[in-house]
Symmetry: C2
Subunit: 384 residues, 2 copies
DNA sequence: ATATCTATCGCAAACGTTTGTGCAAACACT
DNA sequence: AGTGTTTGCACAAACGTTTGCGATAGATAT
């Protein structure tokens, strides 16, 4: 038997339960025919102060000025229907009442949030954060905000982020896939939602959407050819996780070997995750194996730097004994000694181009399907 | 005279102008008493396809199922008032109709967007991006998104970003001020909006809001004392722009000098912006000046690395001739040779702590006013 | 003076949710 | 059969905007 007391007739009998609302028992007073939930003390105070706590709305201004809401809205938006006098009065009143438009309500009506979503594997690596910088820069120029989600190289996180963002939070999406993303159903599901999507850097030909990417195959080709020209014959290649579907760099490497008549040696190609131990382990394997290697081409500058330091600790001369190349042109490659030969992917440009392409789609409302290739540049330094 | 034709009575006479709507001339047919704006061909088609283009809403589901909107809402939210049968039916119908809730509408009524705003000077520097990483990590754990704005070390941009974010876009704000921010009225104006704000790293005591910061004074003290213990007497200090109000590092430096009985020498303290030329210029000044310096303490690792490379190019031995210290513990300090002695500010921890503190405020709705100090750690390497 | 304009504003419907309350029917128990 | 109880749903008011359409009072032209 509920011991509830009816707020109207103050009677504790003839009260019956009536469902549950927000985890609170709901009651029904048969006497005064009144439904209620059990309120803790001082509930009425809240409803009084509630109004005061809220930011001022158009309604508040309208009431204060004794005019309609629509007039206030139009006045603040400089609609020509409103006379200059009332317009100025309302504007002054608005600032004096500290009015700020509720962008949520605006977005709801206008069907546009003026913000772009970005899904990126990692935002602490300079490689990615410089892309982010490019995106953010271009977006800001057009008055767009940027909502950033980090997938942490985790496919499930990427999917979750995607779902969250696409629910009307953003006007467009920029996505750089996870290393382990090899199925793209999650993207396909979102493609008919009317929200434009642009892939950048790690792209998939399986998707019929615009892409911004670098010619990694060509980059790897150039690096490999450079090593060959330097006289290297046994060029070890350190790749990322095998799951990575987008592995153009291997192709470029093989292409260069083939063109220069060097036969492929499977033992010279290793896949590793990017952990320090895995990288060093792979290098040590190569050092101990029989056909003496004379070059290491790491597909990540970070790993290349680790390799250089490891080789130096082993008193192996770079590049006399072994040449080392990286990929990505991170700042550390310029600092390490010997300075690292690498391939500049122009990450910032990729970010900028991706944001531009997306904004064009959003603003022109045209479903473009461009694919833009950002040319990189080989940077030859001391390590080769 | 307008040549408009009334859509109703198809008469071109007796048409008069009636204000302007959305930059389009509006007309009024005196004949059929009908208002209209000039529509280009095929306007009616749009209103037909309009409905089809939209994502499915609760209303669509309700109509399809022949029940009320509220029932659909409650069913999808597992409200106990709805029978298991209808609940399942509706859920199935919802997924079959590809329903996704409009988060804007939800946010509007719930007064919560589940996203945090971050204003940060720069997101490409690892120093800051690692803070971002910490923030993003903690936020994601609690199911919050992160909206990131880059102020580019520009005070006006910071103000603009703040304004944009605070208009109901976010549930809370994390801000790390610009180097040039010495007035905080823009923050004060937002403080009574009910949206909690947390400062991190670059904080101001002028504001009565929670802060997360590192004990830079102590860090600078430790670095300076370390140099003194190494026998350095003439320790040059390279600081950031003078406008920077938060310059505790100078205090730590001076404190250490005083404690060890070394008198302050104004010529040994220089303020520079962080451009390469300014840094190198300052260093060259010191090298050419009379009292031979025996140490350089740069308040930025990035500059310290540049200094090391510059000194090496001048064949100046580090640390035999001149010791070099940085501040911040960026990765490059570990790569450069000699490896850089620096102070680890624990940037990631700062980001995490800031996000935690903010989320506590948002979730508990309590206006805390904690100030948390994240202890750093001196990292002694080869450059001293 | 009359007819015609025009400038200026209000009304109300949308946008897609959540949620307090009302209410009929089903159920349970004398 | 009569009473008390519960279940399951619908109505409608919010949330804060934008905007198509009406409407009126004064201005202008005839």
């Amino acid at each position: 038997m509920p011991r509830a007391k009816c707020p109207k007739c103050q009677i504790t009998e003839r009260i019956l339960k009536s469902g549950i609302i927000r985890d609170k028992q709901r009651f029904y007073c048969k006497d005064c025919n009144y439904h209620f939930t059990l309120l803790h003390e001082g509930k009425k105070q809240k409803s009084e102060t509630k109004k005061n706590n809220r930011p001022t709305s158009l309604k508040d201004i309208a009431e204060a000025a004794g005019i309609s809401i629509s007039t206030v809205s139009r006045a603040l938006n400089n609609h020509p229907d409103i006379s200059l006098e009332t317009r100025n009065n309302i504007k002054q009143l608005a600032t004096s009442m500290d009015y700020h438009p509720n962008m949520l309500a605006q977005s709801l009506v206008n069907r546009s949030t003026h913000s772009l979503g970005v899904i990126i594997p990692n935002l602490e690596t300079t490689f990615f954060s410089s892309m982010l910088g490019g995106i953010q820069h271009v977006a800001a120029q057009s008055g767009y905000r940027v909502v950033i989600c980090q997938s942490d190289e985790n496919h499930m996180t990427e999917v979750a982020n995607l779902q969250a963002l696409m629910n009307n939070m953003i006007d467009g999406l920029l996505i750089c896939h996870t290393l382990y993303t090899n199925t793209f159903d999650h993207i396909k599901m979102q493609m008919n939602r009317g929200i434009p999507i642009v892939q950048f850097y790690r792209v998939s030909e399986a998707l019929d959407i615009p892409k911004i990417f670098s010619d990694d195959e060509n980059g790897a080709f150039q690096i490999t050819e450079h090593l060959i020209n330097k006289g290297c014959k046994k060029i070890a290649l350190l790749l990322g996780p095998k799951a990575l579907s987008i592995n153009k760099r291997l192709n470029g490497y093989l292409k260069a070997l083939k063109m220069h008549g060097i036969k492929k040696d499977e033992t010279l190609i290793k896949h590793v995750d990017f952990s320090y131990n895995a990288v060093i382990g792979a290098v040590d394997d190569w050092l101990n194996s029989e056909p003496e290697i004379d070059a290491i081409f790491s597909i990540s500058d970070k790993c290349a730097v680790q390799i250089i330091r490891h080789l130096k600790s082993k008193k192996i001369n770079i590049p006399q004994k072994i040449s080392v190349c990286g990929f990505g042109n991170e700042y550390t490659g310029e600092i390490v000694e010997p300075q690292l030969t690498t391939y500049d992917v122009k990450t910032r440009q990729i970010g900028e181009a991706a944001a531009k392409l997306l904004l064009e789609q959003i603003i022109d409302k045209k479903t473009k399907n461009e694919s833009i290739l950002i040319d990189g540049e080989i940077i030859i330094r001391e390590s080769t």
